[in-house]
Structures are given as C-alpha cells and as structure tokens.
C-alpha cells in the first residue's frame, strides 16, 4: 500500500545513534539523550517509563514529527524526519497511534479512518468504504462508524486511532500508551490485537508488523512484547527480553515491575 516492498525480517527499521530527544511543546528542554537503539523489522518492543519521563516525546521523535536535538536517526536506512514530498512513501511505512487518539472531531469515526486512504490515494468515499469497513470490524468499531469521536469513551477513541494508523498498512507501528486508563476488557483486546499484528494479521495480509509500544506499567506486557527498554533519568536503557528485565537491577525497574498501577 505504501509502494515499498516490505523489509525482510531482521533488517534494521529504526536506528538511533547518540540521539537526544527534545520536548514536543518546549524545544529547549531535553527529555532523553545519548539514545543508541536499533529496532529490526518484525521486532516487538515495549519502552517503559514513569509519567513525565518523556515517553510521548520519544515516540513523537521516532514517529518523525520532530528532529533529534542531537545524533542521527535513520528509518529503513534513510534520514528521519522526512518532510520532503518526494520521500512521502518512505514516511508512510510508519504508523503512529497517539495516547489520546488525537482524532479529528469534525469527522465521524468512519471518516477519520478513511481520511489517510482518501487523501493519499485520492479515493471517493465509496472507493474507500470496503477497506474502512474491514478496519471497523477488526477493531469492533462498526456500531460507532457514524458517531463523532467526542461521543466515544477513551478506550474506543484509542481504537479509532489504531484503525486510522493501520489504514495505510504501515510496516512499523508506534503506539503511545495503549493500555493507559483502560478497563481489563479493553486491555485484553489490545494485548491480543497487538500480538496478532506482531505475528501477522489478515488485515495486513499476514505480514508481521514491527511494533514499538510505550507504557508506564510493564507488567501486562509479560508474554506479549519480546524486547524491553526503559526511559529513566534522561537516559534510555535497553534491557532486552523479559528474563533480562527481571534480572536487571535498579530502582525504576523494580518499581515498574512491582508497583501497583492506578493508571493502567
């Protein structure tokens, strides 16, 4: 859908070298620095950090919404962020789901999902309808297709954001705090759906998606995500698999593993 052949599993998708992340709302503030991180195609990462650790800013940078304050960030071998029209197809290999959904309130749920499709492929409503209908079914949003986002609960709004990001069939999907503020039923659905995407969902023609998810509570991700990293003290620590995470020392890791969370 993006016009690129999908990258083979194991090929570097995201490569950060000595990257410093600025705050989205205050460019003078550095939220994390000296980030050295590589995400290969087909991997499933969880980046954990407490509230205010800069998870969202880190994901905005990874999503190409702002440049690194320092260092080099490459996406499938090309420099990020991409602002040039000529490299738009490359840019669309990445999808981003915002914490609050960040939906367009003047559009209905179906129109929100259809917008990127219609805009990039110049489709009429009826031409985009079949794809939108599939996305609505997969995310259980069909009953709310004609509702505006303001009438939906937070959990459903996040699903609209997910469906909208999947409309262009990206190869890499970044999801900001998918479980924050959700009830157990929504949590279960998200974990299950992201697992399917990581393994290869029929919606993506069975192609495994590269996933990067942020969270304030790492425990629900046990048995789901394959790699873990932590944002702490303006730094970024790659911990590896769950077993390595359990073995890792440090107050923050203990907190993330043991503290009962009220937010997720």
């Amino acid at each position: 859908m993006t016009g690129h052949l999908p990258a083979p599993a194991g090929a570097p998708a995201i490569e950060m070298t000595d990257v410093a992340v600025g705050a989205m709302r205050d460019p003078d503030t550095i939220v994390a620095k000296q980030i050295n991180w590589t995400v290969n195609a087909g991997e499933y990462w969880v980046v954990a950090g407490l509230h205010g650790s800069g998870k969202s800013d880190f994901l905005m940078l990874t999503g190409g919404l702002m440049p690194p304050r320092q260092g080099r960030y490459q996406f499938f071998g090309g420099a990020m962020p991409i602002f040039e029209e000529a490299r738009l197809k490359e840019r669309l290999r990445l999808g981003l789901v915002f914490d609050g959904g960040q939906l367009f309130n003047h559009l209905t749920v179906a129109e929100n999902i259809a917008l990127p499709l219609r805009y990039h492929y110049n489709l009429s409503r009826s031409q985009a309808a079949a794809t939108v209908s599939k996305l609505l079914e997969c995310t259980e949003l069909a009953p709310w297709a004609e509702s505006t986002p303001g009438t939906l609960g937070r959990g459903w709004q996040k699903r609209v954001g997910l469906a909208r990001a999947l409309a262009l069939k990206p190869e890499v999907l970044l999801v900001d705090g998918p479980l924050a503020g959700l009830d157990p039923r929504h949590v279960k659905w998200w974990l299950g759906f992201l697992d399917q995407l990581a393994k290869g969902h029929p919606l993506m023609q069975g192609r495994p998606l590269t996933l990067v998810v942020t969270t304030a509570d790492i425990r629900p991700w046990k048995g789901h995500a394959r790699q873990f990293a932590v944002l702490r003290n303006h730094g970024f620590v790659v911990l590896g698999a769950w077993e390595q995470l359990k073995a890792a020392s440090g107050e923050l890791v203990r907190e993330l593993l043991t503290e009962p969370s009220q937010t997720e």
């Binding site: 989205m24 709302r25 905005m60 999503g63 190409g64 919404l65 029209e85 738009l88 840019r91 669309l92 999808g95 981003l96 915002f98 609050g100 960040q102 939906l103 367009f104 309130n105 003047h106 917008l115 990127p116 219609r118 805009y119 990039h120 110049n122 489709l123 009429s124 954001g161 909208r164 990001a165 262009l168």
Partner: protein, 283 residues
C-alpha cells in the same frame, strides 16, 4: 532649594521625563511585535500560496468537497443574514440621502450615491467584517483547539499536509464566500434602496434609478469589486488560520489568539480598502 526642586518635579514636563524610557520601551516592544507578526503572516501567506501551487489538484476527492463546504459556510449559509443587512443598508443610505438631497432638489444623484457608498465602499467592507465576525472567529477557535488537542500532529503523522488540508480550503472558500455575499449584499441594498425611496414618495421611476446606477458604474468598478472582495476573503482566512495554526497553542490561549486575529483582520481589511480608494482616485 528643596522647594525649587519640588516645584520643578511637579511640572508636567518633569513628571513626563522619568516615564519617557518606559514609554519608548513600550512603543519599541509594540513595533517589534508588530513587525514580527507581519513577518510571520507574510511567511504563512507565502507557504500557503506555495502549497496551493505545488499541490494543485492533489487529493482532489478530499480537498474539493472541503472547499465547497467552506464556501457554503462562509457564503450560502450567511445569505439570510446578508439579505437582512442589505435591506437595512438600503434604508440607511437612501433614508439619509433623501433627507439631505431632496430639499436641494438633487434626487438625480440617488443612483450615484448608492454606487459610491454601497458598491465601492460599504458593501465589500461590511461583508468582510460580518464574515470575519461569523466565520473568521470560528476559524481561529476551531484551528486553535485542533492545534491544542494535537490534531495537527496527527495530520503530520498521517503524511497529510496541514496547510493543504486545513488552510487551503478555508482560503479559497472564504474568498469565494466574501465575493458572492458582497454581490448579493450590493444587489439587495440597491433594490431595497429604491423601495425605501418609493416609500418616502421620492418622484423617481425605476427606469431612471437604474439609469443613474448604470451611468455611475464603470468597468473598473466590477473588476476592482472582484479583486477587493477576493482579497478581503483571502486575508481574513489567512490571518485567522495563522493565529489558529502557526504556533503551538494551549487551550487557554485560544481566546487570546482569537482577539488578536480579529483585530489584525480588521486592520488588514481597512488597509486594503484604503489602497483601493487610492487606486480609484488615481484612475
């Protein structure tokens, strides 16, 4: 000596002197702020023009309905209010003109007065200000809220150019809306003007009135009316979109941005109007 000093300090000049640096600093800040705003607005207008040219015809299935939507919002949906305004404008101009011209027997100039006052001046300016009040303010609030809620970042994340999707339809729609509404306002005012003259027992036949109008109008009036109204619509859309979109906003800043956008739009429209008066006078 002390008494002398005290009396010197109490003189108006002495009271003003210590405040002078503060006053110049205030004026300097104001001028600097004005220049920065002008620079920002100019850059925003150029970027919008650039996007209009480079992305002409792109995403037509999405952008074209949005242009129609914006043109309807800034035009067709305001038509009832403008018909009422047209009736009022005709009454005001003809009422005043008849009361002043009738005693000196200068009824032959009714049409000329209507052309000068309504067609060249009040019609376009009143339309622009009403559209600014009804739609321009809504633009700033909608876009400012969208900016504060992260919708602009969402568009960028989807690879959609916010200027192309949010600004271009508003600029084209509002330019067309102001142009169309001005035409309706002028036609309505000219018609209602005659009706009010008729009600006031002015001995003027419809044919004579329309002959007066036709002889007062020139080809330049039509051309400048079109250019002026399109300029008003574009400027209002650009200024309101600039204040809503061009800088990161928090929700509490939206009202301040709206006030600034309205004030600057009015100043811009008045300045453009002054420019057109000069063109009329020169030609």
């Amino acid at each position: 000596m002390e008494t002398g000093n005290a009396s010197a300090l109490s003189s108006p000049r002495a009271r003003l002197l210590p405040r002078l640096p503060a006053l110049t600093s205030y004026l300097g800040r104001g001028l600097f702020h004005f220049l920065l705003t002008l620079q920002g607005l100019g850059a925003f207008a150029l970027i919008t023009l650039g996007v209009m040219i480079t992305r002409f015809g792109a995403a037509r299935e999405v952008i074209r309905p949005r242009i129609f939507q914006e043109a309807a919002r800034a035009g067709l949906r305001l038509l009832p209010m403008f018909l009422f305004m047209a009736a009022a404008l005709g009454l005001v101009v003809i009422g005043q003109t008849v009361s002043w011209l009738a005693p000196v027997g200068a009824i032959d100039f009714l049409g000329t007065v209507m052309v000068i006052v309504v067609v060249r001046e009040l019609g376009p300016l009143a339309t622009a200000l009403l559209v600014l009040a009804r739609i321009g303010t809504a633009n700033v609030i909608e876009l400012g809220t969208a900016r504060a809620m992260g919708e602009v970042e969402a568009l960028e994340a989807l690879g959609i150019d916010p200027i192309h999707y949010l600004v271009v339809p508003r600029v084209i729609g509002m330019a067309l809306g102001v142009f169309a509404l001005t035409v309706y306002l002028i036609l309505g005012a000219l018609l209602s003007g005659y009706l009010w003259a008729f009600v006031q027992d002015v001995p003027l036949r419809p044919g004579d009135y329309f002959h007066q109008l036709a002889s007062a109008l020139s080809g330049l009036d039509f051309a400048l009316l079109a250019v002026k109204t399109l300029a008003f619509g574009s400027i209002i859309a650009l200024v309101t979109c600039y204040h809503g979109l061009a800088q990161p906003l928090r929700l509490e800043e939206v009202s301040r941005a709206t006030v600034a956008a309205v004030a600057q739009s009015i100043i811009a429209c008045v300045l453009i109007d002054a420019l057109f008066i000069i063109i009329y006078l020169v030609t």
